[in-house]
Structures are given as C-alpha cells and as structure tokens.
Symmetry: C2
Subunit: 406 residues, 2 copies
Amino acid sequence: MARINENFLNLQKSYLFVEISKRVEDFKKRYPDRKIIKMGIGDVTRPLPKACIEALHKAVDEMAKEDTFKGYGPEQGYLFLREKIAEFDFKKRGVDISADEIFISDGAKCDTANFQELFGEDVKIALLDPVYPVYLDTNVMAGRAGEFRDGRYSNIVYLECTRDNSFKPSLPKERVDLIYLCFPNNPTGTTLTKEDLKKWVDYAKDNRSIILFDAAYEAFIRDENVPHSIFEIEGAKEVAVEFRSFSKTAGFTGLRCAYTVVPKECVAYTKDGRPVSLKELWHRRQSTKFNGVSYPVQRAAEAVYSEEGQKEIKENIDYYLKNAELILKEMGAMGFECYGGKNSPYVWVYGKKDSWEFFDELLEKAGVVCTPGEGFGLCGKGYIRLSAFNSFENVKEAMERIKNGF
Amino acid sequence: MARINENFLNLQKSYLFVEISKRVEDFKKRYPDRKIIKMGIGDVTRPLPKACIEALHKAVDEMAKEDTFKGYGPEQGYLFLREKIAEFDFKKRGVDISADEIFISDGAKCDTANFQELFGEDVKIALLDPVYPVYLDTNVMAGRAGEFRDGRYSNIVYLECTRDNSFKPSLPKERVDLIYLCFPNNPTGTTLTKEDLKKWVDYAKDNRSIILFDAAYEAFIRDENVPHSIFEIEGAKEVAVEFRSFSKTAGFTGLRCAYTVVPKECVAYTKDGRPVSLKELWHRRQSTKFNGVSYPVQRAAEAVYSEEGQKEIKENIDYYLKNAELILKEMGAMGFECYGGKNSPYVWVYGKKDSWEFFDELLEKAGVVCTPGEGFGLCGKGYIRLSAFNSFENVKEAMERIKNGF
C-alpha cells in the first residue's frame, strides 16, 4: 500500500480567494451595472519593458537556427545573467557577491518553497505574522509545523507585526533555526532599517540560525536608509540567504525568472556540529531537481540590466509608487490609519473593524475589491491590503468612490 | 544550530561527466588536430519547429501591450494547452484523459523529482537498473534509500535490465510501493509491449502500489504494439501517473515545458487505509510550490499541436530515428550487439568489455565520445550509450571512423 505524506492533511485550506470571488460574484448579480475596481491583486499590470521584448524576440530567433539553437542550459543559470546580477544588484551597491553564489530559477515562490529541503526535519521555524503563506505551507508539508489549533501551528514561532510594534518583529523568546523575513514586506508594505536588520543578523550569528530573506519587492525601495539586500549588513553572508525576483522588478510574473543568493560563507550544521556549505547543498538540490530557466527568458532578464532596461523598470515602478502615494494620501485624508506604500506597492490599512466587514463595506459603498488582512495570519485581523498594481486612472477613481461612499 | 538534512550527505557523487570531460581534454592535448564527434549527449540538436517560433514571437508581442499582457497564469497551466494535450496525446489514441488531470510544468526532471514528496517517508521504492539518476537521487534526499554499499542502496529495490532478460524487468520479489518505469527507456532505448506493461499495472493493483511512468521519449515510438501511454492499459488510471515532456518531442530542452497526468481515479492511502486522491495532493503541491510555466513557452507548446507543428516534429524525430537506424546498422555490421534505437534516440551497445575501456577505445581509435553505461547503474557495466541527437553527417562520419578504427 503506497502511503501518502500525511503532513499534507495537516495543511489548512485557504478559503480567502474563494470567499473573495464568492462575495464579488454576489455583488455583480445584485448590481450588474456597477463597475468593480480590483485593488486586491498582487500582480503587475504594466507590459514588459521594450528592452526585454527585444531581447526575447532576438533569443527566439536564435532558437530557430541550428547554429544558434540552445538546448539544455546550465542548471544554475547562464553566466551572462549571473554576472550582470552580481555587478548591478550587488557590486554597484558595495556588496561583494560573485556570480557563482547566484542561482537563477523560475520563481521566488519555488525558491522560498524549496529551500527548506536543505534542513533537518526538526529545525525550528520562525515566520512573520501576517505572512506570505508559502513559507508556512511548505513547512507544514515537510512535517515541521506541529498541531493546528486556534489558527496557529504549535511548533511554529510567529513573529507578530502589528501597529503596536510599528510592524517591526521582536526577536523570538525561544531559540529558532530558520527565520523567514520579507522586506519590503508583503502584505504590510513596511520596511526595516539597517539597524533593525542588524539585530536579526546578530541573533542568527549568536544562535547559528539561518535567515531566509525574501527581497522580492526590493525594486520599490526609494528611502536611503532602507537596505536593498541583507548582505549590506556586516556578517550577514555567514547566516543569510536572499531571494530576489524579476516578477515585481520588471513585470516578469508571466515570464518566470528569479534568483537566489547563497554566499559561500553560509553554513548549517550536521548533528555533530560539522559545518556544511549551504551553497553546495543548494547546488546539488538544483542540479538534481531542476533543469534551468527558459533561454529566451534569461536573455530578457539580462536586458533588465541594459541602460534602456534600467530606465524602463524605474519608470514602471515609479508609476506604481505614484499609485501607492495617492492611496496613502487619500485614505489618510479620510482618517484611515495607513502603513507601507512608500517603498512598496502595498498599503496596509487599519480599519478598526473586522477585515471582512471592511471588505464588504468597500465593495458595497465603492465597488472596490481589497484583500482582507486575516488571509495572511491572525495579526492581519482588522486590516486590509490595497495594491498599487493598477492603472493610475483606476486608483484615482477608486479613491474618489471611497471618499464619496464613506 | 540550524541542522542540515543529512540525507544529502548520503548522495553519491557522480564522477561520470567529470571523468568524460577529463578524458576528452586529455585526448585533445595529445591530438590537437583530430576532430571529436560527441555521441554521448542526450540533448536535441535541431532547432525549434517554425510553428513554435511563430507562436513565441506572437506571445512576446502580447506581453508588450497593456491590454494583452499576461501576468501570473494558472499554476496548473493554461487551459488552451491542457485541452490540446488531452485531445491530441490521449483522446486521439482512444485514451480518456481530461484537461483537469493534466499539470503543465517546466520539465519532466522537476516533475519526476518532485512527485515523491506526496508519499510517506517509509514507502519502498523500486527502480530500473540502469536508470536515469534523478529517480534515485531524489529518494536519497528524502531519506528513503538506506545505506550505500557495493554500488547500491540497501532500501532500494533494483529491477535489473540486461541482455539476459531482453531489458524487460521482472516483477520484484518483495512488495514495493512506488515503481519508476521509463519506456522507451533511457539509457537502453528499449521498449515494453502492452502485455509487458499490463503485468506491472496488475502488480500495482494487487499491491496498491503506484507506477510513476516516464514517457519522455514517447514521440520516438513507431511500432504499433508499443504503448504510447501507460493509460492504454486497462485499469492503469487507478495506479499510475505519467510524465511527458516537450523536450525531446519538440526540441524544448532550452525552452522548458513538460506535463504530468494524474488521473482522478489514482489514489494512495493514509496509515489507516483511507484512499486519498493523488491529483488533489499534486494540485496542492504545485499551487503551493510552483507558479506556472512562462506564457510564451505555453503558447509554443500549444503550437506543437497545430497541423504545421505536428508535421515538423514528425520530420525532426524521423531525422533522429534515421541517425539511430544508421548507428544500429553499422555497429551491428561490425559485430557489436546493439539494443534500442528503434523507437528511441538511444542505442545501447554491449561491448563485451569494461564500459570505460570501450569508451577509451572509441575515443582513441575513432575520436568518438560515448556515454559509459555504468554511469546509469551496476547493470550498465559492459555497455555504452550512443545518442542519435546529432547531424546525419556527423553520425555517418562517426560510423565510418569506428569501422576503420576497429
């Protein structure tokens, strides 16, 4: 009898998006003529930069001719792309990361989901609350979560992020092994300073823990004191791994390209305390279970670092940031407590009421769809997430409708 | 202290390709003027079909405009592609597989590597020897392999495929839970008939085992009595999962697209014997850990099923099969025992000597690089694999050189 991995049965079903679409469908039936503006979606809306489009066409043409055709590429990614990343995303910011510490993949979701495979079954996991659900669910599947009761798993350490601590998580009271941090944060849109982040690096060094740092929203950072990479913090290379993505940076959500940085200094340990290079383990994992990213897509990612590409992605992100600014300003003027939205496409709004009640009000009074905060964890209760991934016209109209409706 | 998954330390290092390139480099130094013909590579050489190139360009243009831009797609793959697959690869062959049983991915390597996650840690694994190493290594990483001694893992059941059993594995003596089968086989190039395969399906039904059927080389099948899909066997849907790929079918090794079929009837069991749908588990796994395949690549895969696409892939595969035919004919005429090569791009040659000795002879006497069979397992000793993925001219020249050299 082939037995299943019963940890899968310990996963909690997410009714969030099902429930949202149920309520939206119901609204549409009742008001067939009212236009809905969707501000709940965490997906880009602007088309790919021209530099990427050109690179894609060129690479596709290479695939059409025998002498330029590309078959299997290196599992770790083509060197032309890894070298550009090392130079532009790290060396230009004074961070010494080399091309062989960079692993190209088809998504930060896959990488943040798969990286836990390198660790023992009994490592202790800490993650933020509210949180991107992938970190949690993949550890549930791996059998690390414990029992689920009252909305939480017994073996997971939840690092609470609320208005009371300005969304800056405190160091855990019990020691933990793996710490998932995501800044600029999804869903709250908040950031940490270098000083804040240094506390975590110091903690990880003192406890021989590993920080899994998700920097998927790095491109939205505009403030000088917000670190773009955890490796800007001294000593971080020994204790941190960083996940980056072209999804939000360059609109690649439908094209699929991301990368993970595993510095050569970064080690975890065997039971008897022997250090083992995580870079070597990840390389072995990726070369065994993954076959590299589509060649034309890697060429498109390379084009992000061209002069034209850099200009275009900045324009696109400025566009979304302008949307976020308007949301912050208008919602703030209406008296709502708002967070994030400055180095992030997300505005986290405190509604002083149940998330779903707030959701219904926005829908009924303004025809605006948001994401109820409790979909991201217990600490999301009472909040909603508004996304700046939309046209400026839609955002403007949404704000006017909310103003008139409330 | 963050502890590693020590199962990774139980992986055996593969020196195969390192050793091959060492010997080739040494040869080049000694004979800088001799041209080397590589017949060891399992990668396509012909460019992408024109139908796919056109579909790629068209999809790239869609990504350039706001109103046709595609962001995140469905994790399971776009319906336009899944419907084409269900129709062409299954319904047209009389096999009733529906679009919702098909999961698009970026490679059969990933799927065959990841599928074991759905099963308990203590399931018993059976795999062919010789074998594609991914099935084994991923189970080593998951802790199912046991101790390594004398070239084998203690908990793995090896199904031997040799000239003595015409490369048709016998049913295992001890019961097993998961059975990895690959036909047309890599590396031997041999196939099973429907009657052969039926034995395995019956075994799986009797033992509540699951067959993981890798049909990556399906497009090379020309004989009528060789099944294209395990689902041609009655009752297979209850006990089998099938992996397919566009890599060898349409030259997508650098583009990355594959799919896995998990029929709704297929179940594994909880400890207390309750059946659980593998389709539901795989859907949960994929939607949690994967974010779908690049949109232009899915459009290219769709184009494989156009009239022009079908014609072009047939021409390409006929081209490789003509190469294989020549290898079979010429090597046979020289007195070598040859297997495979008829419904497969691989010819498996018995050398009556050590694989590496045979490798060296081919290199020294003919400047031809092959793959030593022992790289695929103990039962590969004494064999080499010759690949038909090359130009016809190169294959012809290689055969002439071998004829003259031996």
